[in-house]
Amino acid sequence: MSATALELPASYLTEENTIGSWLLTRDHKRIAMMFFCSITFFFFIGGIAATLIRLHLLSPAGAFLQPETYNRLFTMHGIVMVWFFLIPSIPATLGNFLLPLMIGARDLAFPRLNLFSWYLFNTSGLLAVYFLFVGGVDTGWTFYTPYSTLFSNGHVIAAAVAVFINGFSTIATALNFVVTTHKLRAPGMTWFRLPLFVWAIYATSIIMLLATPVLAMTLALIALERLMGIGVFDPQLGGDPLLFQHMFWFYSHPAVYIMVLPAMGVVSEIITCFARRPVFGYRGMCYALITIAVIGFFVWGHHMFTSGISLLSAVVFSMMTFIVAVPSAIKVFNWTVTLHNARIQFDAPMLYALGFIGLFTLGGLTGLVLGTLSSDVHLQDTYFVVAHFHFIMVGGTVSAYFGGLHYWWSKITGRHYPEIWGRFAAILMFVGFNLTFLPQFILGYLGMPRRYYTYSTDLQTWNVLSSAGASILAVAYLLPLFYLTWSLIWGRKADDNPWHATGLEWLTASPPPAHNFLRTPRVTEGPYRYDPRDGSYVSQDGVFHA
């Protein structure tokens, strides 16, 4: 055993370790790690803005920020978190790392494009952060016209350019994923043998490809309008500001599914592994992902119920919103049935995944409240909306991101994270999250508008609770930074398949060698052949493991 181990090629981490070998690498695994470093940086930039906002809202009169600064902070929080953390979060890191491994490929289809995407991402991110620091933007992440084009002070054009460049990075990565999934699957890896994570990344990539160009055009028009006053969104010149909202949400609502579909993929992998049961309704899960991706393109108008769209279109968008909830609910039910009667192992990834199901469900259900025309009139632009989308994006996506990070950490680094700390952080995150955002539902219901820097004194209790929760949440996010870094050096060494999971990624070494597999695997089985009776499983190359 030890003799053969010595002959194994070096892992992707140790193969060559100059700075140049990293910065010019074409290895999808190294690029994934580089994306991981970049988005972690932006996550904490966005997090600092959120912390300042919550501290400020401790007092009804506003604790310490000037109104102008406050507006710039929530804009910075939104722009950084949406485009420089959430959109790339799971796809560019875990997806980049795992997609070729899971389908048995040696790399992505276009490795140079993959590296280029990372450079575009950092260029746009640093540009955005620079301009958000030196002058800031006060429009909110939505850049609504005519405020953003005619009245706002600040670096609107620079921010739009940054997000525009960021879109190219998104498109490059998504294009790579789609083409790789179509063309580079290992022999025997049919579409219905693909792990659900691959299906999720595929569906996400389709949305990225079709929605992002519309945002690019919208931002180009915004920049031109602000720069030259071309009048496309200016009513005085015949333009229509509402058209901006249509175009913006045509991208930005599907963007919500860009954020949450990969999370669903991660959770599907974790749930079935730690329940030691095949996922319930595998094909239904695949179809649900694609259905969400498609219908997600036809619900954007529910952001505009109170903006002055016609009653007919409001009714249609409301109905489409209810319809898109159906495949989402199918997924929740299937996860639940997978857990039913299972002998569940409560390791840290599973705690994150279970947290995801609860928080995503609550976030989804409150989405229906907002998708209902009558209740939306009351709740539009209140903290109810803020709480709703944070339940999906933070409670859902970020939980799944951390769950996936813990689940695949041993594969990525070859080391185990400290399990007890992992569980502690997972539970702390769940508690902190709920304490932060449950009060915001109530605040919204009581009528507190979003983006205000002061509020009425009778709302202070709920705001203080929310800020207290945010401080717990901040600790829960900082913890993994420390113990995961610690584990890089002192963590217990991991073997190839510590979770006894079925996917191809577990067949290769931890961490994998440069081109993933010494020999391209032959796939004979679908994913998730776990035996609930005795904990045995059949990996996707057809080998039975007791």
Partner: protein, 214 residues
């Protein structure tokens, strides 16, 4: 020339070529949405201000637009013939056809530049130099805004295409392409034809309007 090796992630050159072409098709899909957003904007405003758009559209220079249409369609033909020449291992024809494609691209840009100059001379450049002549009101300016943004973005795409075709011509002259390996020609050919297709839509949006009574 040594035989071309496929990338490590591919089993053979054929898989690599198919993958590269699929990559271009997917990219074209994103481009359709990019131009689609702009054309949708145009369609909306045209529906909102039919009379103003008709008056403004009548001032577009349909003769130059039509010449450009003919130039671009011909360039797609020479591009396709270039790929055929590569398949037949006819290097001389390949290089000549690629150069002809690039030359037609330049001709398009030249005609477009002349057209822009004529537009500027009749004070039809929004914001910078715009005169509200014979019955123009504010929305007429929107027509010209669309005209310049759309044809400008199209010209940028075409310029990128010309650079790509010239690079291919240089590589072809050195004998880089064989009947077995000419994937870059196929990929750039797809892009070229797409840019050609976009012009079909832009032509239809800009020139016939206000002339055919629609």
């Amino acid at each position: 020339m040594p035989p071309v090796e496929p990338g490590v992630q591919y089993a053979d050159l054929e898989q690599q070529s198919e993958t590269a072409q699929l990559g271009m098709w997917v990219f074209i899909a994103t481009e359709v949405l990019f131009f689609g957003a702009l054309i949708a904007t145009y369609v909306l405003y045209r529906a909102s201000y039919p009379a103003q758009f008709r008056i403004a559209g009548h001032d577009s220079l349909i003769l130059l637009g039509s010449i450009n249409q003919a130039i671009l369609v011909t360039s797609s033909l020479t591009m396709v013939l270039a790929i055929r020449a590569a398949r037949l291992a006819d290097r001389r024809a390949l290089v000549r056809l690629l150069l002809a494609t690039a030359a037609l691209g330049f001709a398009f840009i030249g005609v477009k530049g002349y057209e822009y100059a004529r537009d500027a001379a009749s004070h039809s450049v929004p914001v910078i130099d715009f005169v509200f002549k014979h019955g123009y009101r504010a929305p007429a300016e929107l027509f010209w805004t669309f005209y310049f943004i759309a044809t400008g973005i199209h010209a940028v795409h075409l310029s990128i295409g010309i650079v790509l075709v010239l690079i291919l011509a240089a590589r072809a002259a050195r004998g880089a392409f064989t009947p077995l390996y000419h994937a870059p020609l196929e990929v750039v050919g797809l892009y070229w034809s797409f840019v050609d297709c976009v012009w079909f839509f832009l032509f239809a949006c800009i020139y016939p309007l206000g002339r055919a009574g629609i």
